[in-house]
Every structure is written in C-alpha cells, then in structure tokens.
Amino acid sequence: MNKTLLIFRHEFLHTIKRTGFIILTLALPVLALLGIGVFQIVSEINKPPTEVIRIGYVDEAGGFDQFTTQGNITLVRFDTPEAATQALNKKDIKEYFIIPPDFISTGIISRYTAQRELTLPAATTAVIKNFIVSNLLAGKVPMNTIAKVEAPLNLVTTTLTSTGAVAPQQGGFGNFIIPGIFSLLLMFAIIFSSIYVLQSLSEEKENRLMEILLSSVSTRQLLTGKVLGLGAAGLVQVIVWVISFPLLLKLASSSIGGIISTIQLPASFLVFGVVYFILGFSVFAVLSASVAAISPTVQEAQGLSSIYTLFAIAPFWFLSLILLFPNNPVWVVFSIFPFTAPVLVMLRLGLTGVPVWQLIVSIAVLSLSIVGGMLLAAKLLRTYILMYGKRPNFKEIIGNVKRG
C-alpha cells in the first residue's frame, strides 16, 4: 500500500478510537439535547399566567370607564389613590395608575407598583395605552377605527428576484438558524481537526518518533497522510453531528416550535458547507503542522494554536454586527482572508447570500494559502522537527526558511 495511504489509515483509525474524540463527537448532540430539555423546563416554569391580572386606576380626569377588560388584564376603578394603595397592599391588585385632571394637556400618567422593575413591562404599557386611546376615541369614531388605531398595520414583505419572481429564500431568522448552527459546527470541526494535526505532530516530535518515521517516509508523505487522515476523522465528526441534527430539530420544533418550523435550507448551502470545511480544515491543518514543527512540546504548540484558532471563532464575536450589516465591506474583506473566510462565508450565505465573485476570490485565496502553507509546513518540518529544546524566534525561522 502507498505510504501516504498507510499514514492516512493509521491517523484516521488511531484518532477515531481515541476517548477524547468519541466524547467530543457525542458531546455536541448530548449538549443540544440538554439545551432542549432546559428550554422545556424553563418555558414550563415561565408559562404566561392564565389567571386574570387586576390593575387598578384612579380616574381624576373623568371619562375613562370603558374598555376595562384587555385580554387577561382587568382594570379596576378606584375613587381615591388611598383606596388604590390599600388594595395594592392587600394584593387585591398588582399595580395601579392615576389619570390626573390635567392629563389631556400633559399626557402624564402616574403608575404605582409594589415590585422593583428593571424596565417598564411591555404588556402593562400596551394595556394602559389601549385603555386610554379607546376611551378617548369612544363615541367619536367607529369601533373599527379604534381597533385600527390600536393595531395600525400588519406588514407582509416579499423578496423578489431580479426577474421579478418571488425569491425561493425569503430571509428572516428562520432562514438563518440552520446556516448559523452549521457555521458553528464548521467552526468546531475546523478547530478540533486542526488541533488533532497539532497534537499528532507535536506528540511525535516530543516522543522522538519523528526521526524513525522520516527514515521510512518523506516529510511530504507524512504531512499529506496526516492532514488527510485527521481531516477524514474531522469529517466523521461533522457527519455524526449533521445526522443527529434532523432528530434534534424534530425534538426542538415539537418543544420550541414557531420559528423552527419555518426553516429553509438551500441545496447549494450544503455543497458550499463541504467545500468550505475541506478548505477551512486544510488551511488550519497546515498552519497547525507548521506550529507543531517549531514547538518543542505539545503544550507549547497548543499555546500558540490558541492564537490563530481565534480567527475561526472571530465571526461569532461580531455576529450581531454581521446580522445587522451582512454586506459591509469589512465582512467582504474577511470573507476573502483565509482564516476567517470559511465560517464567515457560511454565515453570510445564510443571511443574504454572497456575490459569486466573492465566493470565487475567497475559494481561490484559500486554495493558494493551502498550497503555500503546505510548502512552508514541509520546509519547517524538515528544518525544525529534529530540533528539540528552545523554540526558535521569528527571525531564526525566516532565516532558516530562506536558507532552505
């Protein structure tokens, strides 16, 4: 059998049998299951109350005596503030408000409650607003008009394609959920797989196995076999996650419902998902190989790797900004920068789509970076893999790479 294939097979089988790998592969679906469970428990506890809530009011302005039932909230009239306070103390009412005599000119309403609050509850605000508006307009305009003033519009948006037809992807959060989660999985897969490359090479260096291996194979064969073998192990991890995903989604939509049921997943997305996993993993793998080559111990290599893996995580730090401005020039640049491109492009694909030219440039830059990285990693591996002790500084590395 070809030696690269032998290394590939060894690395793949050795990795997927590791306890750490098995735990990590199962951890994500288990954590998702736990998340769904916690969501169910919390939503059960925080179910919107079904009993009637009583809110008191004192009408000093006069004329506010209709529309006292708003959903499950009943407004109870009191003649004086003292009577309302007494009812509040006895917990007959949850809170009360006073409509002062000069309300029409000032618009001021004083609200009293026994509980400290962070912000004004939206439900209470809506109820008081509707109560005031309805009473002010009662008798002056038809009831339909009052209803329209309370809820003036129901905006329905349709996205059209350039030909004017209704676009198959209509956007919205429902459209973003799977790409968002997929990008997150992609990020984990890229980081974990490149950590396997890092660990494997630096362990062989630390265990002094490298020289024995290099007496049988070339650095190119070693590097290629390792990157492919560990990449395949990473792909197994992704496949397990992707297979468990529909089951989890089914569970989640039965308990979370709503937005989950509106999810759409374009077919091209999966193709790009695979392409960007392969490219993303490869670019991080060759970088990991270079770091492992110059690091004397596994620990030191891991310390260095934490710096560049931040690039894979970075798009999630700026998620809120990406959601708000998905086509900002900054994101276009980072969609081409090889270390942020895989995760960022997948996120943007889910949000608004990415222009074809950006996809082409991004894939081209990633591919070139992989080729360049592979050559650099092979050179570093050859130069530094047999050097133990102190890690070389940047100047020494540049000097040695130039000397070849």
């Binding site: 030696k3 050795h14 265990n207 024995i212 194979v217």
Partner: protein, 298 residues
C-alpha cells in the same frame, strides 16, 4: 558495490560547521564504527545518509544510488533520539512501523512474533508501550529497526540505557546481522563497544575525520613499543627495556626504539624466570582517541 559511499560532505548550521569534508565508505558484510565524542558530527552525518537533512556539499550513495523513497525500505535506522507511540500496543507499533518499510501485515506479524520471542519480549506483545521499561522499549525499537530484513542497519548509540543482559543480546544480534551479509553502521562514543564489534572505523572530531580504516591496523599503527608480562621470580635489568611499570597482576615493559618484543622474550627466557603471560601491549581505542585528539574525552 559498497553499502554506503560518502564523498566530501559538508553541513553547516548558523553558528557552526557540523560536518566538514567527510568521506568514507561502508562495505557489505561488515560492522562499521562511526565514533567520536558527543557533538563530533556523528548524528548529523547519519541524518544526511538517511536523507533526513541535506548536505550543503558532497554526495552520498546508498547501494550505488541516491537514497529514494523505495530504497529507504532497504535501510533500518535506530536514531539516538528515539521513541514510540506511547498509547499503542507493542504489536501494533511494530506492525505499523514495519508497514511503512513496505512489509505486508501478515509477514510483519510472523516476523514480529519471531523477534519478540528471540528477545524474550513475547509476553509483552499486547502491552501498551507506556507500560514498558526504558530498556524494554529500546529492544522493541531495535526490533522495529530490523524487522523488514534491511540490507543496511544504522544504529545511533544503541547501547545507551541498556542493562548488561540486553547489551549482550543486542551485540549478538548485531554479529548475526553481519554474518548474514548485512552492513551495520554503529555510531557511538562508547569505544569499548566498538573494539568488541567493529571491523573498520571512522573516528571524527569537530566534524573532521581523524582516523579511518581497519581497526586492527589502526591499533597496530598506534601501539606503543611495549609488552605486558606476568612472571614468577626476580626480574633484573633487561637489555633494551627503558622502563618498568608495575600494575596489579602484570608488569608493563617499555622498550627502546631498537628492541623488538621477540628479542625481549628471548632475553627474559635466558634469565630463567617463569613466564605465565607475554603479550605485545596494544593501545585501547580510547587511548588512541586521546592521543589523536589530545583532549580528555571518554
């Protein structure tokens, strides 16, 4: 055809010349000693032979050609810095590393069993490497080095860390390899091991060759004009002997430049003393090294 032909190789690092204009050849059917103190350039020379690092200048031919991926399978290499996959079982480590030398799984298993049995390690076959002692791991590494029946075996400091029993076992296996017609290169700074095993040597110091050739011829060349005797009776003045050095169990006689050991033997016999032992004193390799290099190395 020589197993190894090294022609004027040079290797420099940023701050020093590790190997400087070194040439030598290793024949098949011999144990060749590559000796010198720590840092002399032995390991760098071996790494260049193994194509792990490239020489700045010079050529290296292995069995008449430049080392290629396929010809790597003819080589067995035990580096000085060595290790194994700590979490793998002994048998799995051997089979994987043997497969990288082109062996089929089944024949690797059969040969591994044979070698494990020969080295008394068969009972450890299914243990993890991390559960073995250092000496045991070293035996496994030696098995990995020779399992694929290489034509050329290169061993860098193979005896370091071995107990006397395993040292003897390893020596016997090296002699067996030579008797099977293999070329063996033994790199070490332990001169006594070289004297016992090697047919020819290359002694290097600071990257330069300082001695090269047949071990017996080198020892003869560097022998001092002296003899060792053990006798009974009174040893008086002997013509041609300039100095007598008494040691425990023997006396060393230093001869003048015009007297041969044969003449001294005849004169001693004529004095009537009983001679139990008479031999021409040969210098140890260590003594030769010190004489050549002029430094106090081991």
């Amino acid at each position: 055809m020589h197993a190894v032909e090294v022609n004027r190789i040079v290797k420099s690092y940023a701050d020093k010349v590790a190997v400087d204009d070194l040439s030598f050849s290793v024949a098949q059917n011999e144990i060749f000693g590559l000796i010198g103190p720590n840092g002399a350039g032995k390991t760098t020379t071996i790494r260049m032979m193994m194509d792990i690092i490239k020489p700045d200048f010079g050529q290296i031919a292995i069995f008449g050609e430049k080392l290629s991926e396929s010809s790597k399978n003819k080589l067995g290499y035990l580096p000085e810095e060595r290790g194994l996959y700590r979490k793998l079982r002994v048998i799995d480590s051997i089979i994987y590393l043997a497969s990288l030398k082109g062996m089929e799984k089944h024949s690797a298993e059969v040969k591994a069993d044979e070698l494990l049995n020969k080295t008394g390690m068969l009972s450890n076959k299914n243990k993890k490497i991390e559960d073995l002692s250092r000496g045991m791991s070293q035996i496994i590494q030696f098995i990995v080095t020779i399992i694929h029946d290489p034509e050329l075996v290169i061993l860098d400091e193979p005896f370091s860390g071995l107990d006397p029993v395993n040292t003897e076992l390893l020596k016997q296996m090296l002699l067996d390899l030579r008797n099977q017609g293999k070329a063996v290169i033994l790199s070490t700074h332990q001169m006594n091991q070289v004297e016992e095993l090697c047919d020819r040597i290359l002694m290097i110091n600071n990257g330069h060759a300082v001695l090269y050739g047949n071990l017996k011829e080198i020892k003869t060349k560097y022998r001092s004009n002296s003899i060792i005797i053990d006798f009974e009776g009174e040893l008086g003045q002997v013509l041609g002997v300039t100095e007598k050095r008494t040691h425990k169990g023997y006396v060393k006689l230093i001869l003048d430049g015009n007297t041969t050991p044969k003449q001294v033997l005849e004169r001693l016999v004529s004095t009537g003393i009983v001679i139990n032992r008479f031999e021409v004193a040969m210098p140890s390799l260590n003594e030769i090294f010190l004489k050549v290099v002029g430094k106090n190395h081991e």
